[in-house]
Symmetry: C2
Subunit: 552 residues, 2 copies
């Protein structure tokens, strides 16, 4: 067996384009919007992007194609973590370029940005690209995490592009990659390289979102995949009636993924990092909040439940951030050696007790030993605590267990608490894209080709009105500089696309906040089931609850 039945079937799927791109290449013209300015720090951004700042927003519409005839040689890279639909961006780009002219060439640089630096590439042909239509993964050319940000790198990129006659690059990535795409575009314009740069908004984390980007691609499929699994776990909890499941979900700092999964599955608990930060919640306060649900349900005889924990949660707990900073300081440089040379954990614990402030030691002391050891023993090459490795699902269930033991002593709780743990991440980043992501990504790629053909650079391929059927989607382009502000990064001011965290005043969180008290004590589980690609439209074509609520 080489291919699954579903993969073969998905090859036949024709992704839906926005209505305005459906009339054939000869019938796509540009409608100019007004000039743009950055969302903040306009003067600084403009000074940094003299050649690409302030350009017009544009949309495409039906009308005579007025672009100049020109052979296009386009390069494309996938940057950063996998997201479902990446293959379709490439396919849409390829199809549009070939529709513009069979002479056009699409080159894929392999393994992410490093492929551009190493000139590691393939030239796409029909036979190859057809194997990747409507499939998940980034294996079409691979991806990587090299950052493309220095002048030296840009010079190499330009040199490699010139070897192939590449006149445009499409960079498919998250907020950092699109920021770097804008910087590269400016470099290319400033140096009269004749190379255009277009970005595409990718990330399952959902944190690349602003008034121009309604959602990044992959978020829909990844959250549906996690919600399928969480729904199955909920149904199991509600059948066996004896376990509390703590489910950590990917999403880095932002809690968009956790929140979307919660909106789809209505678990008893969903933590939201942004709320924890806003309320300056302590670990003990969070554990108490969860234990309230456990105790209320136990009082009804329900010793089971489901709690969703966002991957980045601990970074948002103020006292925990302080603890991490103190640990990093405590083990900086040579101090790590004297720590590492201590023979037993008891010796190490004494060293820690001696080195932390009383406040941080109090936090450290309530952690389960496995987490304590993880903080000190598994550090990155720079000696820093690896926050992303912290098993926060186990941390919170351990804290809840302790909290419940105290309640039992007080006589306020008399249930059973048995916890199971899950981490959902790699399970969803490479799923077959949902119809939504397949359509959206294909449109982003197709649209990127049109932006190239019309000569734009430093633009993001923008497809909006996404909560409506694809026919009504709006395709166009937005200068990336429009989304930028100045932020302090690694001790220097940098122009960046602002990362979108969950807005506590936004409709998705407010809907959640209005319902969570009921979800915590009742059993309101919803079981989304597996992503469907065929069948009724209401089952197959709806995108996220987040977007529906934001656009309601």
């Amino acid at each position: 067996m080489k291919l699954s039945p579903l993969q073969i079937a998905r090859y036949q799927y024709s992704p839906k384009l926005p209505g305005m791109l459906r009339n054939g290449i000869a019938e796509i013209c540009v409608k100019n919007g007004g000039p743009t300015e950055s969302v903040a720090d306009q003067e600084k951004i403009q000074a940094l992007f003299p050649n690409t700042y302030g350009k017009n927003e544009i949309t495409f519409q039906k009308g005579e194609n007025t672009s100049p005839a020109k052979k296009q040689v386009v390069g494309v890279i996938l940057s950063g973590g996998q997201a479902p639909g990446g293959h379709n961006v490439v396919c849409g780009l390829y199809d549009a370029l070939k529709a513009l002219s069979p002479e056009n060439v699409l080159i894929g640089f392999k393994g992410g940005p490093s492929g551009l630096l190493d000139n590691d590439f393939i030239v796409f042909e029909d036979d190859y690209i057809n194997q990747y239509r409507n499939t998940g993964g980034f294996d079409i050319i691979g991806s990587g995490r090299t950052k493309l940000e220095t002048q030296e790198q840009f010079a190499i990129v330009v040199e490699n592009c010139k070897k192939h006659g590449v006149n445009a690059l499409v960079i498919i990535g998250g907020d950092d990659s699109n920021t770097n795409a804008a910087v590269l575009a400016e470099y290319c314009a400033a140096h009269n390289t004749g190379i255009q740069v277009i970005g595409c908004p990718k990330t399952i984390d959902g944190d690349l979102k602003n008034e121009d980007i309604e959602c990044s691609f992959g978020f829909d499929t990844a959250t549906k995949t996690y919600a399928e699994i969480i729904g199955n776990i909920e149904r199991d909890a509600n059948s066996a009636k004896k376990y509390w499941h703590f489910v950590k979900v990917m999403g880095r700092s932002a809690s968009h993924v956790a929140l979307e999964c919660a909106l789809q599955t209505q678990p008893n608990i969903c933590l939201v990092g942004e709320e924890v930060a806003a309320k300056k919640m302590s670990l003990a306060a969070i554990a108490d909040y969860i234990a309230d649900s456990v105790a209320a349900r136990a009082a009804k005889g329900w010793n089971f439940g489901v709690a969703i924990i966002p991957e980045g949660i601990v970074e948002f707990v103020p006292e925990f951030s302080v603890l991490i900073a103190e640990i990093n300081e405590l083990l900086a440089g040579e101090k790590a050696d004297s720590f590492n040379n201590l023979p037993t954990w008891a010796d190490k614990y004494a060293f820690i007790e001696n080195g932390l402030t009383a406040e941080s030691m109090a936090v450290f002391a309530i952690l389960p030993q496995s987490i304590q050891q993880q903080l000190f023993l598994e550090r990155d090459p720079h000696g820093n605590v690896q926050v992303s490795l912290i098993e926060s699902e186990k941390l919170f269930s351990a804290l809840v267990k302790d909290n419940l033991a105290a309640r039992k002593k007080e006589g306020t709780y008399n249930g059973k608490f048995s916890a199971l743990h899950h981490f959902l991440g790699y399970e969803g980043r490479c799923a077959f894209p949902s119809n939504f992501d397949a359509d959206y990504c294909y449109s982003l790629g197709y649209n990127a080709a049109m932006l190239i053909q019309y000569g734009y650079t430093g633009y993001l391929s923008k497809v909006s009105n996404l909560s409506k059927p694809a026919e009504e989607w709006v395709a166009g382009g937005m200068p990336i500089t429009k989304m930028m502000n100045i932020e302090r990064r690694h001790g220097a001011d940098k122009p960046v696309i602002r990362k979108a965290l969950v807005e506590l005043e936004g409709a998705p969180f407010k809907f959640f906040a209005e319902h969570r008290a009921e979800w915590a004590t009742e059993t309101c589980f919803v079981y989304p089931g597996a992503i469907q690609y065929y069948g009724p439209a209401e089952v197959c074509d709806l995108t996220t609850r987040t977007l529906a609520l934001e656009k309601a």
Copy 2:
């Protein structure tokens, strides 16, 4: 939101019955097969089941229904772990009973066998049952693990049945529950209770399988759900190209689930417990086998892969079983206290070193510390090691890491090895049943009602020819005693249904064995994607590769 779009859509699905049950209740008659005898130990089994042994196998066929008119009051229980499709067994049973006569009654006893003992029940009505059609989970009446096996329990069951006028019980469960169903049937017959007992074959583990039962229900959906996730992980591995994923899958002792997932996804490695036992493989030998694949792939520049680990694997490693037995002995009774009172892990380690044989200590010494501590610190209420809690996915990745470090020293390996771990179990036991499981389960329930109507007891509801379209399935009944032999359990001879382990001479394993060398060194991943309920038949209606190979 109360229901997901998929759940609403699935309510509309009409499960497919075997052709011979499609002509309406009035047109179903019995075709007698010959008398049966047990697969082994015939005299002993016959002596234990004087009233129910040796009955005829029967199949149903189209023809005048000759069953006597009789009001049926039937009880049903779900027993043991969840399996997708359990709700449809109940729905099929209900629909057939109501089709036989609107006067018929179906009673669900809640929370598994304990509901029968506690007389905890509901009477099914249309409104209630319609909420559960084609859905996953066992939440329609809950399940439980109480064993129904003593004469005292049987007397209570009969008493409770008489309160409702119940004249037949349907027991939906695994090998133990069906064994107990046969014993209860014999008890009821011997005591002239007028209560019939029918079993239905449930378990995701796939170990309830023999020449009469082609597969247990739930195995199809659970393995498809795990294979979806494993395929997604494979695609992620093949995109990121930097991780080895160790994926443990449920399935208790038998490796059917692991093997089926491997047949669907073609990972680099799949361990099979039955082979490990047959070849008497040591932990080191298994680690070496996996490391061979890691090293061969690294030599090609591929520092990534996927390995499937069956849940029960460590029980099959002879030296590990000995170690476990020695640990249980070492900590038996009061010895546990002196161990627990030792202040540090170093003290405990010395105690262990002193207590184990040299052979077992050699095995213990190569385990990662977290597993060592797990073996000694997390014991069940009887003080025994909890083998099912051993994180064997982490165990093997740690052993492989050590093995590779040795190869690096020798100069035979120069790759990078970074491992991630997953455990798939609760994610699949309550998925919406695949079309196959929805059809199969509904047929099992419908068929059970026909067996009751025709007066059979001690029979298993049997639906076979399952690798063919449902139209060609064969519905009937088989005396459960036919599947029994005598086994030693807890120091006594007991009549039981033989648990089916993976046959090393069977077609599924042989297919795997023929291909695994290529899978280990090449990248032959197959991505099944999510279960589809609509769309092309080859995507939606195929059952497992295991069954296809067995019936080929």
